[in-house]
Every structure is written in C-alpha cells, then in structure tokens.
C-alpha cells in the first residue's frame, strides 16, 4: 500500500523559493496570484496494515522538521 506525506512550510515562515516562483509567474502575466508556497510530497510504499499513526511517527522523526514545517499523512 501507499502512504503519502505532504510537507509544507508553516504559515509565517518565509519561503524564498515560493517568492521567486511568484515573481516568475507575475513576469509571465499571471497577475491573479496572491502568494506561492512550495512544499514537498513524499510517497512511501509501505507494508499492508501500516497505520496513519506509524507514518506520522516517520514524519515527526525525519520527513518533516517541526520547527518550520507541517505535514499531512494520507493512506491509499
């Protein structure tokens, strides 16, 4: 089975990459964009029966840095 961990910067944490992308979008004429935030998606192939709590533990211990990032776990 698959588990997907989505990691995003916490609100308020400056995201220089998001800002650069925002600038580039503006340069392309997309004036409707108010803000851009960059995160990452980590897909795990895990054993059947793996729980959301177990994947969340992986995120807390390694996949996300709780100082600057939030994460969300989805099982499929």
């Amino acid at each position: 089975m698959k588990a997907r961990v989505t990691v995003n910067l916490k609100p308020g944490v400056l995201d220089p990459q998001g800002r650069a992308i925002h600038h580039a979008l503006e340069g392309l004429g997309f004036a409707q964009v108010a803000d851009v935030r960059v995160g990452k998606v980590i897909e795990l192939d895990v054993a059947e029966g793996t729980t959301e709590a177990e994947v969340a533990e992986m995120a807390r211990k390694l996949l996300a840095n709780s100082v600057i990032e939030n994460f969300r776990v989805e099982l499929a």
Binding site: V13, L14, P16, Q17, A20, K61, L62, L63, N65, V67, I68
Partner: protein
Amino acid sequence: MKTAVIVFPGSNCDRDLMVALESITGIAPHAVWHADTQLPDTLDLIALPGGFSHGDYLRSGAIAARAPIMRDVIAAANRGVRILGVCNGFQVLTETGLLPGALMRNAGLDFVCRDVALEVVNANTPFTNAYAQGEILQIPVAHHDGNYAADEDTLNRLEQQGQVAFRYAEPVNGSARNIAGISNEAGNVLGLMPHPERMIEQAHGGTDGRRLFESLLAELV
C-alpha cells in the same frame, strides 16, 4: 586537547577542520566515520564539518543528524562535551535538536560564497573567549541554506540568554536578526555558518578564525 571530526558522506570541509585543529592544538584529531557507533574516549571537542552531507537530500543536515554516530554525539553533548558545528555541521546540529531553529534557503536564493563581516556578539562562551565583545571579524561563508529561522519567542530567548554568539555585520542570507552562530543553553554546543577553519593562517588571507579554536584550547588547559 583531544578532538574528533565526524565525517559524513558528502562532507568536504572535514580536512580543513582537521588541519586547523592540528595546527592549533598540536594533536591530530580523530576522524570518525558517520556509520561508526562509538566515539573515542575522553574527547574535549567534537567538530561537525561543512559540506553537503547526503547531498542535502530531504533537508540540509537531516539525514546526517540521524546517522549512527550521532547518538553518541548527542550523549556527549548532554554530558557537557564541547560540540562545534560549522556550516553543514550547524545544519546537522539544528536537525538533531541540540540547537534550536532551522537553516533555510538563503533569502536571495543564491549560493553565497565570500568573506563577510562577522560581529562577536557574546565573547563569554568557551568558543569565543579569545575575541573581544563586539569585535568585527572577516570570515568566509559558503552556503545555500544559511538563512536562520526560529519563532519570535525562541529568537527573543536566544538574545536574552546570550546564546547569539555571532551576527552578520552586513546583509548575507536573510537570517532572522542577522544570526550567524548560536550556542545551546548550557553553552557547550556552538553552530555557525561562517568557516573559521578557513581563516587560520596568513596564506588564507587572514587569521580571524584562529581564536575560535584558541578559545577552546585556553578553556581546557
């Protein structure tokens, strides 16, 4: 002074650190591989070098912080052994939680590689006592992820408790409150983005980095 330098896959300043340590202490440091599980006994200083450990995958320093040897490094830190993290070593220390905050992509997105003006904010630490309070040093930086971030409460606490050891005296990377180096609450762990080991003899263009190592030496004699 008995020292060790931890070597991770992708470390590239380990040799510079070892040369600096040997030139100042007169004793060759131990090089300890990340996959080892035990440090040599009775170390006075453990240094984590600059570089791109594990290719900066996931986050700079994130994988190295979970290396087998780090369990022993964290235990040594908690016993009061001096720990120095330079550049990637600083990133590793924040990832272990030994130092608060995180080092994010430089605000300008560029890799910054040049000498910078660095202010000694606290000359009363085991790593800085050979400097004068407020002294301005010239030390090189070479990093992509040196933009120090922490929440406001943490930043206030760091400043109030004298844990900000070094501050950039010029704009460098967007670091919160221009923080370039911090120590832990107990004062035995220091991380900084600039590279003192690259400024220890005249051939380097200056010797401002030397006194960081001399501070440690003076402290332990």
